[in-house]
């Protein structure tokens, strides 16, 4: 249909570090050697922790959880761009980001191990716990961001979610509120191309996730999500914009979930080995390693030392986790509301009496 006037939009695609570890000079964010090494170390930690969790789960020492192997660049690159005063609002597949915020691994283990203590991060501020209800954290992030703006604090919010999450009404409402409010929040969609068994093309008919930004009149960008430098750079710029009062950004991190959806899932039911293999070849860790190698910042010896050190660290955290939690048995009655009310206290008393009587059930 011909028309008088047209409105035009475009969505850029960003990659800085290619699969061979070569940096696009024009786009290089110029991270120092030290920072590059730190980033690599964090990504390795996230990977090793994830793989350990998988083993723990298989041994019955951990509950069902959602592995993040393969998505380390998409989680750690953005976290590197955060200030401590920024807020992290995760979904459930950002282990690397949580660890980079300073959340001890044993807290993450406690979460997946079935204890509320896994949501308590002593000393770590402005980091919300894992969100299980897909997309529900998106409006939360917008509300936190509004609060930063309200308080005139120069802090921004980094909010993660998956490609499946973009289908939820809360994605839409959250981005729209944030956009209308020009709230300082950066939305990162880890487009790992699957929502359990649902492939991208059954989740949406749009070519990219990033173009959904057009609906909200905010910048959208598609980023190679296995490129930690691009993820860092895009997030860094978006956070700066946010803190400068220029409103939200939507970043699509094109990546891939290399493992199962959760440990209860069997991905062979819905996707091919070839597809997985193709993405294994794009492993973000390998890419980062190649960069370090090319800059002569790393060696096999250092790699071995790192793995050994990471193993010790993880062992220690698993130990803390397996020491268990020390709450009294009636803790479930403590936090219904801030105050105590007779109807709950009566039930607590009954519960305690039953426990003393040797009953194990409610």
């Amino acid at each position: 249909m011909p028309a008088k006037q047209t409105y035009k939009f475009s969505i850029p695609h960003l990659r800085i570090l290619d699969q061979d570890g070569k940096v696009n000079k024009k786009l290089d964010p110029g991270l120092s050697d030290e920072v590059l090494i730190t980033l690599y170390r964090r990504m390795v930690l996230a990977r090793e922790a994830d793989q350990r969790m998988l083993r723990l789960q298989r041994q019955g020492r951990l509950g069902t959880f959602s592995p993040s192997t393969g998505q380390e660049a998409a989680a750690c690159g953005p976290a590197l761009a955060m200030e401590e005063s920024d807020w992290l609002v995760p979904a459930f597949r950002e282990l690397g980001a949580l660890l980079m915020r300073g959340v001890p691994l044993h807290r993450v283990l406690l979460f997946w191990g079935g204890f509320e203590e896994g949501n308590i991060f002593p000393g770590v501020e402005r980091t919300l716990p894992i969100a299980v209800i897909v997309a529900s954290q998106i409006p939360h992030a917008a509300g936190v961001a509004y609060t930063m703006k309200y308080r005139r604090e120069p802090s921004a919010v980094l909010c993660f979610f998956g490609d499946g999450a973009t289908s939820e009404g809360d994605f839409h409402e959250g981005l729209n509120f944030a956009s209308v409010w020009k709230a300082p929040v950066v939305f990162i969609c880890q487009n790992n191309q699957w929502a359990i068994s649902t492939p991208l093309e059954r989740q949406m008919n749009s070519e990219t996730v990033a173009q959904k930004a057009v609906a909200y009149g905010i910048p959208g960008i598609r980023v190679d999500g296995n490129d930690p430098l691009a993820m860092y750079a895009a997030t860094h710029e978006a956070l700066e914009r946010a803190r400068a009062g220029e409103g939200p950004t939507l970043i699509e991190a094109l990546t891939y979930r290399l493992m199962m959806h959760t440990t209860a899932d069997d991905p062979s039911k819905y996707r091919s080995d070839e597809e997985v293999q193709a993405w294994k070849d794009r492993d973000p860790l390998r890419r980062m390693r190649r960069l370090l190698d090319s800059r002569k910042l790393w060696s096999d010896t250092e790699e071995e030392a790192l793995l050994a050190q990471v193993k010790v660290q993880i062992d220690g955290e698993v130990k803390i986790y397996e020491q268990g939690v020390r709450a009294k048995p009636d803790v479930l009655f403590d936090h219904v509301w801030a105050e105590r009310y007779p109807e709950i206290e009566e039930q607590r008393a009954a519960f305690l009496a039953r426990q003393q009587g040797g009953e194990t059930h409610g």
Binding site: I133, S136, I138, A142, G143, G169, L332, I344
Partner: protein, 326 residues
């Protein structure tokens, strides 16, 4: 002291609390420039500006979802659902987050916010504008559900709700918004959430009610007294969750007879829970079955037929008589 109606009293509490604490903000559809479709937020936008009185986009889940974020970050949002009939759209955040953040972090992160909503029938409103679904909210552990019955307690309980450390669903019987005026004290009052009030002492029968039904309860009790000399003790429940079982039980143990008058449909409504609690703790005191008054378990009819659907004074009267004559 000033005489005011419920809209004015709620508005007063909002003014006072916004003045007292700059973390208190008001948000919702048309609550700012337009001052709310019922004018409950009159004057707030002028006084506190658009930063603190936010005209939100038209999205209930977005309103509560962003309010949760604000509350987690330290604000005290008072979010309005324009009508309770649209509140089902925010049930995800209410059930999933408002109710749980405290317990899932053992008190480290909390969601102190208020969700205000006009509810209930009797004003010849459009489809979806007349339901009483307090039971749905009150069934969720970790949520408080408060229902004022008059200007004074509306102001005192909303003040309490705003200061409360947890999420309070504050349901405003819109039929009572401008139905009557009452003296409201000069000074801010904070009534404890979770406490019922004995609004009239009596010895023959306990009549429990809340919201707009309370006035009908009072009228029916007065009429029963005039007609047959019966002394009715009337309890204004005020809080559906937590629920003040003690006040009800004390009264029922004294009177031996009880009628509960709610506007909600009967099935799984609050009256059923009250009866269950009487069963648990005071069954042997009963001299007759507890009388239940409520709407029929049919779909709320359009307003052309709503009168026949909603309980009225005569419904309460009938239940009183049946309970007395059992």
């Amino acid at each position: 002291m000033a005489r005011m109606n419920m809209v004015q009293a709620i508005n007063l509490a909002l003014h006072e609390e916004m003045k007292r604490d700059e973390n208190v903000i008001v948000m919702g559809q048309d609550v700012g420039v337009n001052e709310g479709v019922f004018r409950v937020t009159a004057g707030l936008y002028k006084e506190f500006g658009e930063r603190r009185v936010i005209d939100t986009p038209l999205a209930e889940s977005g309103i509560l979802g962003t309010a949760v974020g604000m509350a987690l970050a330290g604000l005290r949002p008072v979010a309005e659902m324009q009508f309770s009939g649209f509140s089902y759209l925010m049930m995800g955040h209410l059930e999933g987050h408002c109710s749980r953040y405290r317990s899932r972090t053992h008190g480290h992160l909390t969601v102190p916010l208020v969700v205000r909503m006009p509810y209930g029938g009797g004003v010849r409103a459009l489809e979806h504008h007349s339901e009483s679904r307090e039971a749905m909210f009150a069934h969720i552990p970790g949520i408080k559900v408060v229902i004022p019955s008059g200007p004074r307690n509306a102001r005192a309980l909303l003040t309490a709700a705003i200061r409360d450390a947890d999420t309070v669903v504050f349901m405003e019987p819109k039929r009572s918004y401008r139905a009557f005026r009452e003296e409201v004290p000069e000074e801010s009052e904070v009534w404890p959430i979770g406490k019922a009030r004995v609004v009239q002492e009596g010895t023959d029968l306990t009549l429990v009610s809340w919201g707009a039904m309370l006035r009908m309860a009072l009228e029916a009790a007065g009429e029963a007294h005039a007609r047959r000399g019966v002394s009715v003790e009337i309890i204004d429940l005020l809080s559906i969750s937590p629920m003040d079982t003690e006040t009800i039980l004390d009264s029922v143990k004294k009177t031996g007879r009880c009628v509960i008058a709610q506007e909600a449909p009967l099935r799984l409504g609050p009256a059923s829970e009250i009866i269950a609690r009487i069963n648990d703790k005071a069954l042997l005191y009963l001299e007759a079955p507890v009388g239940r008054v409520g709407s029929y378990d049919v779909v709320t009819p359009y307003f052309g037929r709503e009168q026949a659907y909603f309980p009225g004074v005569d419904s309460v009267r009938r239940a009183i008589d049946e309970t007395l004559d059992f």
